[in-house]
């Protein structure tokens, strides 16, 4: 049997790095449905999971794929699926079930261009608002955006860790370029990879309440067969997990499941800054568009503009406070994303008129050229 962690240097695609990250994080179950450009994650997991005692199953559609990973998660294993736009749309209902029942799992969306079938083999970042709001009702979840194969490896591990810690589905919002490009990926020794496991209950089983939360708002999670006789429902439920059809129960449940994310933002939100120290113009970007941003910053600096880059590694929850603080000090923000304005509107909202907010977007299909950002800087600032 091959080891779970393939320590060493590899030249692999983002999709494969994502799969290896999942395995390094302890993923033991993959529910699949093929879709370009995410299929390679499933293919790699199909080959790798048996090596490590895991289970791979290709389901009949994406609805079934996400349903299967939720079921598997309750047996105590870490589970995931991977998809792209059309499949992501089909997963929305059960994503809500995952949030409501606080089921840890990871969903990778290797984004392509939409709407509908769109450009199946070409890149896009048009699912960012769907990631935030696509399932019905109000909720909070976590979405991360990798910008390179190496990053796919690390962000998938982080996705599992956050998912286990906060008992929430975590989305890895990659894109076709990051998923399909090959770069050097360094996989460290297993002992150097931090792996988080869900909190498990202890104490008397007859007094156990499924959603009795600890100080961080997260309740310990038993597995099927542990003897806790859990009842898990997508209906509004009380602390015991039992359906409770009252506005009070709804309020209490929502306060906690939103609170466990909103009250732990410092732990969940991760960003990276480049040349931000003296910047008065800030390029905000995530995923593959970070590569556009980095090049644009260097080119603009060469022309004498004080430009920095703020890279959103965690996109949801959105780093609102950080943008508000930066807005007080700078002239403006330029959001670079392969859509016609999604995260841009969040930046604009948080800038709150204190700083200008402009979009360098595209209808999708290819990476945005740094010159487009440079032109925007020259035009707007």
């Amino acid at each position: 049997m091959k080891p779970a962690v393939l320590t060493g240097e590899h030249y692999i695609t983002g999709d494969v790095a994502c799969a290896e990250g999942a395995i390094a994080a302890g993923c033991k179950f993959f529910g699949a449905y093929p879709i370009t450009p995410a299929t390679e994650i499933a293919e790699h997991m199909a080959a790798r999971l048996p090596d490590i005692g895991g289970t791979f199953i290709q389901m009949e559609d994406e609805i079934a794929a996400i349903a299967s990973i939720l079921g598997a998660a309750w047996t105590g294993v870490k589970s995931m699926t991977a998809t792209s736009g059309p499949g992501f749309s089909l997963m929305m209902e059960n994503l809500g079930l995952g949030v409501c029942t606080e089921t840890p799992c990871v969903i990778v969306n290797v984004q392509r261009t939409g709407p509908s079938t769109g450009l199946p083999t070409q890149t896009g970042q048009g699912d960012m608002m769907q990631a935030r709001w696509g399932s019905h009702g109000d909720y909070e979840l976590i979405a991360l955006a990798p910008s390179s194969p190496q990053d796919c490896f690390y962000q998938t591990i982080r996705a599992f860790n956050l998912s286990e810690k906060y008992r929430v589905p975590v989305l890895v919002m990659a894109d076709e370029i990051v998923g399909h490009m090959s770069e050097k990926v360094v996989i460290p020794e297993a002992k150097k990879i931090q792996v988080v496991d869900r909190p498990k209950p202890s104490g008397r089983k007859d007094r156990f309440h499924l959603y009795e939360a600890g100080p961080n708002g997260v309740a310990p999670m038993p597995a099927i067969g542990d003897g806790y006789n859990v009842h898990v429902t997508g209906l509004t439920h009380d602390e015991r997990g039992y359906p409770a059809m009252t506005v009070e129960a709804q309020e209490e449940m929502m306060t906690r499941i939103k609170g466990k994310i909103r009250n732990n933002l410092d732990d969940i939100i991760e960003t990276e800054s480049y040349k931000m120290e003296d910047a008065d113009i800030v390029v905000v970007s995530y995923g593959v568009s970070v590569r556009t941003g980095l090049s644009a910053v260097d080119q603009a600096r060469a022309k004498g503009y004080k430009v920095g880059l703020l890279r959103l590694i965690t996109v949801w929850p959105f780093p609102e406070e950080m943008i508000r603080e930066i807005a007080k000090k700078v002239k403006g923000f330029i959001t670079v994303e392969i859509n016609l304005g999604q995260v841009h509107y969040e930046v604009e909202r948080c800038a709150g008129g204190d700083a200008k907010a402009v979009l360098v977007g595209s209808a999708g299909g290819k990476i945005i050229h740094p010159e487009k950002v440079l032109a925007c800087i020259q035009e707007e600032f």
Binding site: W74, N94, V232, G234
Partner: protein
């Protein structure tokens, strides 16, 4: 010293109380509904296996029958509409040693969830699917279902259902199920035996249970609760080993009930273990 000791005595426990979340009773099912009878048969069948309860899990979708998962004192999952089977497949493939029971209704399993049903049957996924078939969408007030008889009235077919219903045993058999039976809530002993047999059967087992919905089906089709029971008694034919193709529901001609299929074939998890986990299973 006038206290009657009988008045102080705790009411006797029901023999199935250890499998029921009694604090959740009363249940939501209407008077005259048959789901409770199917549920009770299911609990008796679980008990009769004499297996530890933590070896079982129940998964349901959405609808009246699906609420069963909320009353059973086992690890139980009330999921999304139509998705009980793929959720249960995830459980089964991650923990093949568990006995997985899907308890849901005809609307949930065969309209919105129809695709999942045929694929789980095709794979011979080792689980027991109990379908309470009341010929309608009860919870939403009696709309036409994939099982509603031709010309029957529903709120969305006020002039009668123009379409033909599924023959569920035939569908299950054609898709690959290795145990297929049909009973009505009148034959509770046969039903309990069948569910017990299905749980013990290694493979995809399917039991259709005809069950009345007097409020939302019977009322619109001039069928009083007692009429439905009479149909179950007088217009059914017990025929084990019958060809599922003869299992159309037509009470005019007589409805075939009994065990249609009971065959051994390899299951999804067996094949996965054999092909992919040879070392681990030792």
């Amino acid at each position: 010293m006038t206290t009657n000791p009988k008045k102080l005595a705790k009411p006797p426990e029901h023999p199935l109380d250890d499998l029921i979340r009694t604090e959740r009773i009363p249940h939501i099912w209407c008077p005259g509904c048959g789901i409770g009878t199917v549920f009770s048969s299911c609990l008796s069948a679980i008990k009769a296996t004499e297996l530890p309860y933590n070896q079982f899990t129940m998964v349901s979708g959405i609808g009246c029958s699906a609420r069963g998962a909320g009353y059973i004192k086992l690890d139980s999952f009330h999921t999304t509409h139509g998705r009980a089977i793929p959720f249960a497949s995830g459980i089964k493939m991650a923990r093949p040693d568990l006995k997985v029971i899907v308890f849901s209704g005809d609307g949930d399993l065969f309209a919105i969830g129809g695709n999942h049903f045929i694929h789980a049957a095709r794979r011979n996924m080792d689980m027991t699917v109990i379908c309470v078939n009341n010929l309608t969408y009860g919870m939403t007030g009696g709309q036409v279902a994939a099982t509603t008889p031709n010309m029957a009235k529903s709120t969305t077919t006020p002039l009668g259902n123009p379409d033909s219903p599924f023959n569920l045993p035939l569908l299950a058999y054609a898709a690959g199920a290795s145990y297929v039976a049909r009973w009505t809530i009148l034959q509770t002993r046969d039903l309990t035996t069948a569910i017990n047999e299905a749980i013990n059967h290694k493979g995809f087992s399917f039991i259709e249970v005809l069950s009345p919905c007097p409020i939302n089906y019977g009322r619109r089709n001039k069928e009083k609760p007692i009429d439905t029971m009479k149909l179950y008694q007088d217009h059914t034919i017990i025929k084990h080993g019958a060809n599922p193709a003869e299992a159309d529901i037509d009470f005019g001609k007589g409805v075939v009930i009994g065990k249609f299929i009971h065959i051994d074939k390899s299951t999804c998890d067996d094949r996965y273990t054999e092909m992919h986990r040879p070392c681990i299973d030792d």
